[in-house]
Subunit: 291 residues, 6 copies
């Protein structure tokens, strides 16, 4: 279970409120690279852990930290909205620039929230929990988490350059540092478990003898002319030993190994058009003619 | 641009059609771990590549292969639906089991598609393109792709165990092999670029001097009692050198470094209740009283 | 900021795991009546509070409790999934009932999560954060919260009757009690602020002189015959003083007070069909003819 | 504006309530082929009409009829749910078939609605208003409407065969008849405007001289071998005059006419990996090497 | 069933068309506080009513009125779009302000609808019918409706201040008045049923003896230090009799009463990593070590 | 299966990059009128074809062409974003117009994609695969496809007028031409199958004797006064032979033929309020009183 404390994890200051930057910050709250996502993702991974207890502990500690990050960003959005124009005449009057700020703001910041953050991305699209990845496989989960932190840190860096407000830059320099650590943290679990040599392919508990090993280490090219793009001929994945040491990379120009599919006509009650419901004989004839 | 060929990449056979397995297979078509996702993800990463040409080439080759995987799975769904019960009386009559199969099927397989695949997951939730991750950062993208293939292979292994149809097992043994390779492929790009030592933190182009480096390699615990869970005390990410060789891991019991936030009252036209719109003096008094 | 503790707020026991009940419980996690919703709703209301500090405090305390409720329910789902059938042959073999349990399960519980909870409702539809209502108006927010707890308690009561597992009944008897309190809690805020007499209409800060007061306390009927349904003639809202004491209820058979709308033809570049782009004269003629 | 009447447009009777059929009927309420969609689609097309007044009239009349269809189907769902099992023990006891009906039901019919219809499709996915097509172009709108009624009638026919309840069959025979008319109705508008000869291509107000007419009547094949599938060689769209009489159909094997795209490196603040941010010279060299 | 009439319920005039205000008005059409929502919500509540006939009557009368409100707002959007800039050069030329209006408009108002309203909110996010709350419990439904009207009136007041167009102000003054009445109307039903004393807790038909009454009237605090925020110590919900007269409020510092959860390892076919699939003995050992 | 080629189907040039036009172009990528939709729609229709082989061939050829169209548009978006402002100070400095361009851009073009296209519409709403219509009925599918191409061409024409960049105009003149052909193509299939005379009503395989033919060719008016709008009295669908030659059009003023619905009280465990759970006798009494 969980506890709270009224202070923020790290200071949040805004010297020059900017409603456009408030809109941009929403990507870090409710975007797919944002904090609601990692918070819920780490919680659901932790709550569903069926492996050693340590993984549950590890995940819930960090999930709990992430609530505080959403709180910081929500505070930052609210502070950036203070003094925002909230009427068309006001916006027009200020600088004659035809409502440019009001037009660029997230309308719901004012209309729906009365100048506060929403659980949405920078386009105002609400966060959707289908982005919470929790597979029950620790290696898959750690890769998902490293991805979330890599894309999250890239976003935070872009936001950092977008503003020149010292308070915002300071807050982002903290969040960027935490993303640095969290990338490390999840990949360190993979290293601790033996690194990619042991952990690949994910899941490592499926016997590779049951996969079609002819194709397990082959880079398929899809060029219409059957060739290999010259830029790829000596790529790391085109030649040499595989990363898990279990095979040799090769290049395989993709070609059809399967049949041309032939589906049976549906039952009458599927109500295709009459012309689609040919007798079997007609079908055979037509197929011969078409071959 | 793109070309087609009427045959499948690999044979698709179904010996004992099973509409419940058709429902399950949908997860591999329109689920977040599925083929529509990787197909579009690789395409959008390729089409937006601003770095060396080789990355565009690499991505589009594999994106094109993935269209063929959606095609195989869509064919497998259609074949598994042949002979499915399509009326309540028929289902009830067959085995008295109160429409168990019809109740377990994806209703839209019959009602909307006339016994064919849909671009949805196993719960019938349509695929949503917010899951197409293409960040413009090659390391972030490669991690996202390795994640997609790790979760995709885990799904395919679960489906492989769920069925005993030899045709379906054969098709899945091929798709599992391709997921093995694709995991390798994307992680090999990271290795080729110098491995995690060089590539972390993502993005590696942001000067770390601008992040708050006090917190860049610290594992934050969030225990209410300020302690560290014993299972984590000697974890790989709690002590020793960081994965990128640029720091030392440490443990940091999380505590508030920031202020208790104080938002200004909104403007009158935000129409909070009157009781929320206190004068500044009242606000100060109340804050003092509440402190 | 926030802290965690490894134990649950209240015991969670499952004596007879039931994967169908696991599916049902999802409604209390990721449904619109569920715990993710109230948790995020109270957090966002608290983080955006611009009124007296007490409202922020009040909301964050309860938001934090709600994380623990999601945790309890996620644990309950995971425990109910233990022993669930995960292959078609297994299901078929057990009781010949054509895979009834496997067909009735949430497929993603196994395929995507490896037998754990997901942030989705009982139909497998992911929670969408558009359901997080935080308006900046305390009375509107409290009504939204009372609604969430009323629908949440109704759901919990239905789940309570659906199971006969003593552990599940015990957990639900706790959650139902908490919903009882939370309904009280949010409505008590309205009472504390003066009750509906003072708080209505929401927002109470908009001068009623600016609304069209002819229609402020009139029940509009919409019957085609201009009549009033006899069941409604003496309803509380049809006659007598209004709840806020500011008006008298009356009944008003709805009738058109406005014009028949006439939109101007769009510009050429809107590319309607040519036949829609009549000259103004034609338009006048046609309108006369049509009148 | 609008009026109501307490009776239904057409009788709705259910002799043998069936909660599985209630689930199936939801497709006709909240599915993309369903009644909420056509109702809102016709309303929004009508309310936005900028052409002759007659189109607004025509659309609003039918939109209003469609509200009554949603009402009929919602009533049918509620009646089919009467007597549905609402507890796991009850379901199990009745026939030992491991909760088959309860497992097959839409859980929200009981949990969220207390045995009533919801605005969702047969998988429990809520209707999303992005399916309301209203383009401002009458020919595009009429095609969209004819499509909606064609897919809607196909759905209704499938539902008609799925049940043997005489009341349900009667209700569906009425809705099927209305779909027959509505297909006619929207296509009749196109005929009245001069038929496809005049109305194609949509929009007919864009001067065809500004499109690249080399490709306006050419069927592009995409075969990797540059060939034409024999089944298509003499198709109506491959040879002969076009439907609008403005061109001659031909076959054109698709081939690249464009360049290999070369995007400029992004700005530093887009934070791709360092390796993606090559100097211009490096880029040229690499491109030469890769060509 | 339903009828229409070509005139509007109330006049809609726009003196100075403003495409930015058209975007803002969309929140009142397709936002969660908007008219599509209340219209469908009242319809579905009415159509699913299983209690006294009067509730069905009451709901359908008002649902029908709400169609007319969507119509008014859709008309207002269309009128505000007349004369909007629809090309980049036009926008740039007018005032050199780099396309400020065109950039601030909802692009789909022109691109998809040809200058008409869409069933979306002010960010262009389509309305999603998951927001239609109809629980089968009249008290829960009435609270949901009062919430919808409270948030709807708050939105309308914000829009009223945002514009200085006399026609728009007049239309909004009417809609605000209707929201005043509708708040009254739904809460009056609760009063008619005995007020909160009788109606709480919702549902009032579940025997409170079956809930865990120790916690039914306790305000849980979640402070890490076990304390109570001073602002809350004497809140209405912290002390004194409960609103329903059935209990006494108290304060309860939240603490764990439950266990640390221990999930069983999943079956082999769930394909977690090998390292997660420890034998039972290992698991016990590890748990002991970790305790 | 599928192949690729590095060059584009048709040249894509941008002379004056414009990030606002990049936002607008997104509607043609991820909007409901866009290329992802038609691409996936034709693929799923082709992969699920149960009728003559020719339909599968026909659909897959064009689906494959459409991938190349998405590629062209994604390239156009990326080129339009080159040089876009990516910081608030930069935007402000350039022309003092308060960040008008940055405010008008799609924020995710920079924040999430690093200046590249996303699979979203012009409002930044991700494409949702529920828009992929594939019914199993060839006539329904062809109408859906003609609709998609009609709305797609309307969109492309609007975009064509919105820009004066010669490269963009050239690209759009090609895409408009392809939409011209694709409208023809799908409608030609209907003609080849006998035209609307044979193909209507869709599905033409359901025996019309089983629909309620009294209402099959009647235009229902919904006017409250029972009248017929004068603009519609002699419409093509109001009088004369039906389009399929199987009936005569007539006008039928809509009136209730059904009953006032009476739903049974729900079971106790549905937990409506007590007041909704009247005994049967009370219910009868009340109904009599209310009649």
């Amino acid at each position: 279970m969980y506890y709270c404390e009224p202070r923020l994890q790290y200071p949040v200051r805004v010297e020059k409120p900017n409603p456009l930057f408030a809109k941009m910050l929403q990507q870090a709250i409710g975007g797919v690279e944002g904090e609601i996502r990692v918070c819920l993702q780490y919680f659901f991974q932790g709550w569903g852990q069926r492996g050693p207890k340590k993984y549950r502990d590890m995940l819930l500690q960090t999930a709990t930290e992430e609530i505080g990050h959403i709180e910081m960003l929500a505070t930052a959005v609210a502070l950036n909205l203070e003094g925002a124009p909230v009427s068309l005449q006001e916006a027009a009057a200020k600088d004659g620039a035809v409502n440019a700020v009001l037009g660029g703001m997230n309308p719901r910041h004012f209309l729906s929230a009365g100048l506060a953050a929403t659980p949405e991305n920078s386009n105002g699209v609400p966060f959707n929990c289908s982005h919470v990845y929790a597979t029950g496989n620790i290696a898959g989960d750690m890769l998902a988490n490293a991805t979330a932190e890599a894309t999250g840190r890239t976003l935070a860096c872009r936001l950092h350059d977008m503003t020149d407000d010292p308070g915002m830059k300071d807050m982002l320099s903290f969040l960027i540092a935490r993303d640095t650590m969290h990338q490390q943290q999840w990949l360190a679990v993979i290293e601790e478990l033996g690194g990619f040599t042991d952990q690949l392919p994910v899941p490592n508990s499926f016997p590779q003898s049951e996969e079609n090993q002819t194709f397990s280490y082959a880079y398929f090219t899809s060029q219409a002319d059957g060739g290999v793009p010259p830029t790829l001929a000596d790529a790391r994945f085109a030649t040499g030993p595989s990363l898990d040491g279990k095979g040799q990379f090769s290049v395989f120009p993709n070609r059809p190994m399967g049949q041309e599919p032939q589906l049976a006509p549906g039952p009458k009650s599927a109500y295709s058009q009459k012309e689609q419901q040919l007798g079997l004989l007609d079908k055979i004839k037509q197929t011969i003619a078409g071959a």
